[in-house]
């Protein structure tokens, strides 16, 4: 399943890389940080901020995805025990809805 990357504008995540629960955050970061999304001049630029927690912190990893039109999706990856597939599913569901709205408007 592909993510509608064009609908995403911001991405914030905080995780402790030494915990196994941070895996989906790091993998999802890999899907968003592409040559298209990194340059600020690009139309699909995504503002990415990563906060890495210290090693002994027990805070659960979280991510916040901001979409076009101001909609925000916050996923508590650690508490819900999400895997990368679940994260992609949730994000792309919101993204696809936004895409459809945009196409209906035009």
């Amino acid at each position: 399943m592909t993510i509608p990357i064009a609908t995403i504008t911001t991405f914030r995540t905080a995780y402790n890389p030494f915990s196994r629960a941070s895996r989906p955050c790091r993998l999802f970061l890999g899907m968003l940080r592409t040559p298209d999304t990194i340059p600020t001049s690009s139309p699909t630029h995504i503002d990415i901020k990563v906060k890495q927690l210290p090693r002994n912190s027990t805070e659960s990893p979280t991510m916040t995805i901001g979409f076009k039109g101001g909609k925000e999706l916050t996923l508590d990856v650690g508490k819900r025990g999400l895997k990368i597939g679940d994260v992609i599913e949730e994000v792309s569901r919101v993204g696809r809805a936004l895409q459809r709205e945009a196409s209906l408007k035009n």
Partner: protein
């Protein structure tokens, strides 16, 4: 063993003139000693009597022809030879971006080497040996386990070597007992051996770094623990996360080109491994902030110890001194008392 053909008989055989000349010179050189003396190595160590495999290719559990086996060997050697390793997460970097980042990295490291040389310290130039490379995380994890947890016993190490001729127990004619050419042999203790595999199999995912080895990971390997080089590398690769200042636009305009900057935005600092210990980002920053490298740390330690020793000496001396001063003052008082009346007398008389 004497030569089978006598030299005179060799000379009698008709040959062309060039060949004859060569034989003559060769024979005259070799004449005093027909058999060269055995080298010390040959006298003290007897060769393995029966070798069932080439010495460079011992039987192994993992097939040495596969790329993954050779990658494992290169990773174990990397982990054993570089005490300072920094791990990065990298996402979708283009080859051009990698090339630009590597170029900036080498320039920064060369500057550190020049600075060390200018200060007159005797540290070897490390810049050509510091590399950043992407790794296969699953293979790297196995290599990490082999390096950290696999300790072959002395006996198995010894049995893998050819018997010693000095030791009277072993004889030259003794057959190698252990190495039979089978993969199951416990005497085989190289990284691809079945012994190594079995020893680290149940340690899967137990290493501190193993949760980090997810997704695309790159390692920066430094062959000695040199905080200065690490600081320079981090100031190039992760200036924001590490807090070390990146070169200014004026000092190094190439660093601020979009190709480098776009690449760097896709690199994250993850952790470091310093002398077999795993450090997170804050601890990595601390290592990088050691001024003057290892020499600086040593000099700090020396000054701390020296100041401590001198303060201890003064404290210990203090008690003796105070006793001395008390007694001395008491003596002077007593002397004055003794002298006092006499002085008065002399004055009066």
């Amino acid at each position: 063993m004497p030569p089978r053909l006598r030299i005179s008989s060799i000379q009698q055989i008709p040959r062309c003139q060039y060949e004859l000349r060569i034989t003559r010179s060769a024979s005259s050189a070799a004449a005093p000693a027909f058999t060269p003396a055995a080298s010390i190595e040959q006298m003290t160590r007897s060769p393995a009597p029966v070798s069932r495999f080439p010495p460079t290719q011992p039987p192994s559990h993992r097939n040495p022809e596969y790329r993954r086996s050779q990658l494992l060997r290169s990773y174990t050697s990397l982990l054993r030879t570089s005490p300072l390793i920094v791990l990065f997460q990298h996402n979708n970097l283009k080859s051009m971006e990698w090339a630009a980042i590597r170029r900036e990295l080498t320039i920064a490291l060369q500057k550190v080497d020049e600075k060390i040389a200018a200060e007159g310290r005797t540290a070897p130039a490390l810049a050509p040996y510091i590399k950043i490379q992407t790794i296969q995380t699953s293979i790297f994890e196995v290599a990490l386990r082999i390096v950290e947890y696999f300790r072959p016993s002395e006996s198995s190490l010894a049995s893998g070597k050819p018997p010693s001729a000095i030791d009277p127990v072993t004889q030259t004619s003794a057959e190698l007992p252990a190495i039979s050419g089978s993969k199951d042999d416990p005497a085989l203790t190289h990284d691809l051996s079945r012994t190594a595999h079995a020893a680290v199999k149940n340690m899967k995912g137990m290493h501190e770094l193993s949760p980090l080895l997810v997704g695309p990971v790159a390692v920066l390997s430094i062959p000695t623990v040199s905080p200065e080089h690490m600081k320079a590398a981090l100031s190039i690769l992760a200036p924001k996360e590490s807090g070390f200042k990146a070169p200014t636009r004026k000092a190094n305009p190439e660093y601020h080109e979009p190709i480098v900057q776009n690449g760097l935005q896709k690199i994250n600092l993850l952790a470091a491994r310093v002398d077999n210990q795993v450090f997170d980002i804050d601890q990595t920053k601390w290592v990088g902030s050691i001024e003057g490298g290892m020499d600086g740390l040593r000099s700090q330690l020396v000054t701390a110890l020296q100041s401590m020793s001198s303060s201890v000496a003064t404290t210990l001396e203090g008690a003796g001194k105070s006793i001395y001063f008390t007694l001395e003052s008491r003596r002077s008082v007593l002397e004055e008392e003794e002298k006092g009346p006499e002085g008065d007398k002399s004055e009066s008389s």
